[in-house]
Subunit: 428 residues, 2 copies
């Protein structure tokens, strides 16, 4: 789909036009838009669309709008597990109702230093877990936007904000981006610092970015990480792409299979050599062990909430944390060793491939708001710490994306290959 | 030295009797002491000694004293960069004056769940950096207790508390323990969760424990980590110990050399086979690169403090963070790769040795309060993430310790070998 005022129109759904960060910056550079005017675009979109979507927890009434810096004029949404000094940070939980941290999270401070306007906090599943929010999918209010970064994906997908921060521990960035039809990156582990971000699992929690198109999140990540080479990294002319079906995670739904096939054909049209690859041992085992690491750590990370506020924890996370008490330390240690071995095997695999291409989600956003969807095609990559990009695949009906993955530390490569596929998809 | 009321007496200094966690627990189990009475012992010691030492930032006036659990009766000091819900957490900085976090850090919540009485917050260098506190060495008020965990080391060394929490990013646990004559462990990286602990460097920050003797920190770590096997792990009958002089860090002072030699002879008397080992490449290079990783991350971790409160940052850390702006991302990446390779080389080295033995500090606590001492014999091991134990070496003058190190994840082995050496030193 096209961003910044161009409605690409999916015949089966009500596609919003998204706001492109790069377009806004270009218009500001050309003198046809001011930073204040750009933030006003977001405010107007919020006023028009937020009542139907419910993506925002709070909106800054009179935020600072810097006039200089690479993010000047960019209104940003910040997932509500990420500390902000000037807006409450409530973790999606009544335990933190009205809570005001002392300072900004590191990434928020960086955003402000680069000129961004932190306009809103976005809804999150409680503690970025699996209990759903009340946020609605901007493409169909009867469907979930996914989670746990529900509000960030929905706000960008609804064209309210050109940039939003989320986090992924299982599949909480790539999956909601796929459901909401926007681009997103889950960068390499700790490329963006998680200081000031509520911890669920310290080995997994990863900050991510939502934007209209891949170029938008590439621009944002390059600046936030202070690594200009990330944006505009060249894709090889004939990238070697490994198509990964993740059979160990079960079959995807037909819509997701069609989206992946469309992305594959687009890649080939754009010169890629695509070959199917089965992930070698112990990667399928690592996939299965993701939850052991996540839950063992979550029970420690949320020790205070469990001890002091067990009754206020949401149903699913509460049960998950109760069950985690039974995980032996030795099982956690074994899972971490498996993950460690798997990272080395995966690194070797990237000797043969510039990128991997796989499902972003099992299918389009499920109906209803009772579930945030299934992260089964995301969790291995979170555990591996490798950069993952969601590319929206145009089509009928609710959005479905495809996921492009590169080796650890090569976020620029993942973005470049994703951009190439996105462009080929747009050419049709 | 001996703990729990037995004053071992160093001829050249004023040695306090320390409070032994294990002794207190034994007396409670035997019915000769109540948890309340045990906490009163700490309160009385605080009343008597704190005015001269200045180790505490705040003391709970009416703390909960559980009567059950493995830490019942244990009054704990918590470094003031670690969140507590019921006492301010001020990071050693006016920026956080009076700051009250919403909840307890994960490790504090765990302490309480095990029955501990969180009695006091202990002084810390601002943000656990290198600017000194006003805390005095309990063995000589004209000398520093070290840092950054100044108050935790001093409070345990002064016999005020049987257990205190600190953190180490360079040498902030092992070095002050050496200066204050107490036992301490810096466990394997992330064995104890740092959730709710102010970040300086996410790749390095490690929670550690101070106690009277090695058995005390072994008991505490085993319970806190939920890994009973850590306490009472058997030392091999004839442990193979590598003596590491860390020549790349320069020569140690004569007192530290004598302490290391005494520890070596004690180990041999206890059956160990000790042989000198030079650390292979790239370990010396990793030692030199520790600061690159630390400072590059600190500048991000403290982004809000730099942006909003630069003038209130302390002198040394302020300059350090300013200078860190010049570290290129590529230099950080290269340092991390070197550290990664070094961990594998070190792992292989532990095929030949059960433990390594090296300096805990360059010498006894420096005179004056203008410096927290030099972490040059600690920083490599923090970067490697391996468990390190300080063993106090009895002698004349100010305390000096020796450092016992085991492979990653084998904290029980490090403690067992340290205990064996400590016992042999006590036998003389």
């Amino acid at each position: 789909m096209r961003a910044a005022g161009v409605d690409s129109g999916g015949s089966g759904s009500d596609w919003y036009a998204m706001l492109s960060l790069v377009d806004i910056r270009s218009r500001i550079a050309a003198g046809t838009l001011t930073p204040e005017g750009a933030v006003r675009l977001s405010r107007e979109a919020v006023a028009a669309r937020e009542p139907a979507v419910g993506a925002l927890v709070s909106v800054a009434q009179d935020p600072v709008i810097p006039v200089e810096g690479p993010f000047a004029g960019i209104a940003v949404g910040v997932k509500d597990i990420i500390d902000t000094a000037d807006l409450p940070t409530q973790m999606g939980s009544p335990i933190y109702a009205g809570w005001r941290p002392r300072g900004d999270a590191a990434v928020v401070s960086r955003l402000r230093a680069l000129g961004a306007c932190v306009l809103a906090k976005t809804t999150t599943s409680p503690f970025a877990g699996i209990d759903p929010t009340g946020t609605r999918n901007p493409h169909d209010p009867g469907h979930t936007p996914g989670g746990s970064s529900a509000g960030s994906a929905a706000a960008v997908g609804a064209g309210m904000l050109p940039l939003a921060l989320g986090t992924q521990t299982g599949g909480s960035v790539i999956r909601p981006a796929s459901f909401c039809g926007c681009a997103a990156i889950k960068p390499s582990f700790r490329l963006l610092p998680t200081v000031g971000v509520k911890t669920f699992s310290w080995a997994l929690d990863t900050l991510g970015l939502f934007g209209a198109e891949v170029r938008d999140v590439a621009y944002a990540l390059a600046h936030l990480a202070g690594r200009p080479e990330i944006d505009g990294a060249a894709s090889p002319d004939a990238p070697r792409i490994g198509l990964v079906l993740q059979d160990f995670a079960g079959a995807a739904e037909p819509e997701a299979q069609r989206a992946l096939e469309a992305a594959r054909r687009a890649a080939e049209r754009a010169g890629a050599r695509v070959s199917e690859v089965a992930l070698p041992a112990p990667l399928p085992e690592a996939w299965a062990l993701h939850g052991v690491i996540q839950d063992y750590e979550a029970r420690q990370a949320l020790a205070w909430e469990i001890a002091a506020h067990r009754a206020e924890l949401p149903e699913k996370v509460g049960r998950q944390l109760d069950a985690a008490a039974a995980i032996p330390a030795a099982e956690y240690d074994a899972a971490r060793r498996c993950a460690h071995r798997s990272r080395r095997v995966l690194k070797d695999l990237f000797g043969d491939f510039d990128a991997l291409l796989t499902f972003s989600a099992a299918g389009p956003a499920p109906a209803g708001l009772g579930s945030t969807g299934d992260p089964r095609y995301n969790r291995l990559w979170t555990l591996m710490g490798v950069p993952c990009v969601n590319v929206a695949v145009p089509g009928d009906g609710l959005p479905v994306g495809a996921q492009v993955i590169a080796r650890f530390g090569d976020d620029g490569r993942a973005l470049a290959v994703a951009r190439r596929i996105e462009a080929a998809l747009a050419r049709g």
